[in-house]
């Protein structure tokens, strides 16, 4: 019998006992749905996290801290030189780091809290530097206005929530509700005055740790409004960005300067953190090793995400196991339905054999029935799983909002998942059909046709 005829006969047989077959198909759908819902949530969470990490633009950065700064000494870095014997993270160290192969640039992470005046109103926020290399990067996606015209330009890029604050709408809405374009329009091109404390070394070669602090003001022009703080890696989040070169030339007083003055070993100011930008995420590991050899602590987002990947893999396999259990139950349903169908259609099978059906014809017929239920179950199940996922997503978002966290899309149904789910349903159903199909094929026509 040709395949088309098998399918056609199978379809008519399925229609004959439509309720039972629909229930069996529903069973498969529920199995597939649980699989799809669980995996799509797992994948969605994973995508959300890695997307967040990627959009931070930090995959190619290594944070370098001095071992002297005990805040950053993590457990796995206890071996190595003692903090007191380790080198200072100063300008010389920065140049050393910048010359490591694979490092594109190394710059100090300067950030400080200061007062900015806009429309004669004072605003307090964290100010940080931004290198020219970040122009056009992922972290600045969706920025309004333009990037710094040069490394020393007296220009600032502000974060959208700060722009919102400048317009006097602070705390009125959550960060996700602020439209960058909307807040950018009134502030772009406007003047803002930054106050800062300049650290001025008194006499060259004199008392190593003495310096003066001079209060200064610097007028700046707002040229851009952005979404994110691109260099935020565990540090305080900056909302105003100056060109890195300009910021370095200001010699602005840093929070740690005071702390360092009590144990200074050189006249040179040291940095709290240096950020090394690496030529591609693949080189982060080797660069980290090289910097550690210089006697510094390092941290990269890769360190954090490695653990995260493992966690996600474990979560995904758990979800897979639970989803598969439901599918297994569905398979038993298929076997049951088809074995029942054989008992019911015993006579019909006998008739078919008597008029010329081969064992293979009957096997294919039952296979086609199992396959059709699997295929339909797979399609409906994927749809159902997607709906369940949507519902869970909706539910968590309502919960998120109620506790003040912005809503997130934690559901991802990639095409490979859809096709894999339908494929798995089909294959699993065909496997379930193996036993009933061979039973139908082996049925003795003389027995089957005997009068009851």
């Amino acid at each position: 019998m040709k395949l088309y005829d098998s399918v056609e006969l199978a379809a008519r047989n399925l229609r004959e006992s439509v309720l039972r077959n629909a229930l069996t198909t529903l069973g498969i759908s529920v199995g597939v749905a649980s699989l799809v819902a669980m995996l799509s949530l797992g994948i969605g969470l994973q995508q959300l996290f890695s997307q967040r990490l990627h959009s931070s633009g930090l995959f190619d950065r290594v944070m370098v801290t001095s071992r002297r700064d005990l805040r950053f000494n993590r457990e796995q870095e206890r071996n190595g030189p003692a903090p007191a014997d380790s080198p200072d993270l100063d300008e010389a160290a920065r140049q050393n780091i910048a010359s490591i192969p694979g490092v594109v640039e190394a710059y100090p992470d300067l950030r400080f809290i200061t007062e900015l005046r806009f429309d004669d109103k004072a605003h307090l926020t964290m100010v940080s530097g931004m290198t020219l290399s970040q122009k056009g990067g992922d972290s600045l996606a969706g920025m309004q206005g333009s990037f710094f015209s040069s490394g020393e330009a007296h220009e600032v890029i502000v974060q959208k929530s700060f722009a919102d604050e400048l317009l006097g709408k602070a705390h009125a809405r959550g960060p996700d509700e602020i439209n960058v374009a909307e807040v950018a329009k009134p502030v772009l091109g406007r003047r803002i005055i930054m106050r800062y404390a300049e650290r001025e070394s008194s006499t060259a070669g004199g008392d190593s740790a003495s310096y003066s602090v001079i209060s200064r003001e610097l007028p700046l022009t707002i040229v851009g409004v952005t979404d994110l703080d691109p260099d935020n890696l565990g540090g305080a989040q900056a909302r105003v960005f100056l060109p890195q070169k300009l910021l370095e030339s200001l010699h602005a007083m840093q929070a740690y300067d005071f702390r360092d003055s009590t144990r200074a070993t050189s006249a040179q100011p040291s940095y709290s953190r240096v950020i090394a930008r690496v030529n591609g995420a693949g080189k982060v590991d080797s660069v980290e090793q090289a910097i550690k050899k210089l006697g510094f602590n390092t941290f990269s987002i890769l360190d954090a995400s490695k653990g995260l990947q493992t966690v996600f893999r474990i979560v995904d396999s758990f979800l897979l196991v639970f989803g598969s259990l439901a599918l297994t139950v569905a398979c038993i349903g298929i076997i049951n339905t088809l074995v029942m169908a054989i008992l019911e259609r015993r006579r019909e099978i006998g008739i078919m054999k008597a008029i010329g059906a081969s064992d293979g014809d009957l096997r294919n017929l039952f296979f086609a029935e199992a396959g059709a239920m699997g295929l339909l179950g797979g399609i409906f199940g994927t749809l159902l799983g997607w709906l369940i996922g949507r519902a869970i997503n909706l539910g968590t978002n309502i919960y998120f909002r109620s506790i003040g966290i912005p809503a997130e899309k934690i559901l991802a149904v990639p095409w490979w998942l859809v096709s894999a789910a339908i494929g798995v349903a089909l294959v699993v159903s065909l496997v379930s059909g193996l036993y009933p199909a061979s039973r139908a094929a082996k049925l003795d026509p003389v027995q089957a046709l005997r009068y009851e």
Binding site: L9, K353, I355, D359, G360, Y451
Partner: protein, 222 residues
């Protein structure tokens, strides 16, 4: 199933020539249906051989037996054995599906067979909507749609009243005479056999009791 072996057909040697109309007669349990199943290729003998043309059915694989049933024999049964969920036309088309006849030819072949049994107007009906005699004629159309050489009829009139039974038997006789189909009729009604068959074979307890030409019919024909 007891432990004792029952020999349903035991040591029967029999030859049926092409175009013959043979009746297998005997009481219930005499082995006549078992013999018919052997000829139909539905069952295989534990020993001995069943030859049809140049094939020994006892030696054929299950697949080859299915092919033999598909092309060489057509069967009708006492209880018609139509598939209730299919229309008359679909029932008659079913053997053509197994024979992998082209879809476009099936309709014409099936309606041609139905025309031959006088049911051209009932194609879209379900078997249950037909009378017993009509159902048996559909079964006959199904048996001959693949143009087999042999027609095997197992008590074809057993569920019919005498008038429709006669109609069916006359139809079978026509097929035997006009299409030169070999007919093997199983029945327990000697009268029916004597009226239509050219040769009467009596079985009892699986053994051949007698095998003789039907002299009554020969006289009737004369």
């Amino acid at each position: 199933m007891g432990s004792a072996t029952i020999r349903a057909v035991d040591g029967i040697t029999l030859e049926i020539r092409a175009g013959e109309f043979v009746a297998l007669l005997g009481a219930s349990g005499s082995g006549k249906s078992s013999l018919l199943n052997l000829i139909a290729g539905l069952d295989s003998p534990t020993s001995g051989s069943v030859r049809s043309g140049d094939q020994d059915l006892a030696q054929l694989s299950r697949e080859a037996l299915a092919k033999y049933r598909r092309h060489t024999v057509g069967m009708v049964f006492q209880s018609f054995n139509l598939i209730p969920s299919m229309t008359v036309l679909e029932n008659v088309e079913l053997p053509l599906r197994f024979a992998e006849v082209e879809r476009s030819k099936r309709g014409t072949m099936a309606s041609g067979a139905l025309e031959r049994v006088g049911l051209a107007g009932r194609l879209r009906h379900r078997p249950i909507e037909l009378s017993g005699g009509e159902q048996q004629r559909v079964a006959l159309a199904r048996a001959l749609v693949n143009q087999p050489k042999i027609l095997l009829a197992d008590e074809p009139t057993g569920n019919l009243d005498s008038r429709t039974g006669t109609e069916v038997m006359q139809l079978i006789q026509t097929l035997n005479q006009s299409l030169k189909m070999t007919v093997v009729l199983v029945t327990h009604e000697a009268a029916l056999a004597e009226k239509y068959a050219g040769r009467l074979i009596f079985l009892a307890d699986g053994k051949l009791v007698s095998d003789q030409p039907n002299t009554a019919k020969a006289r009737g024909d004369a």
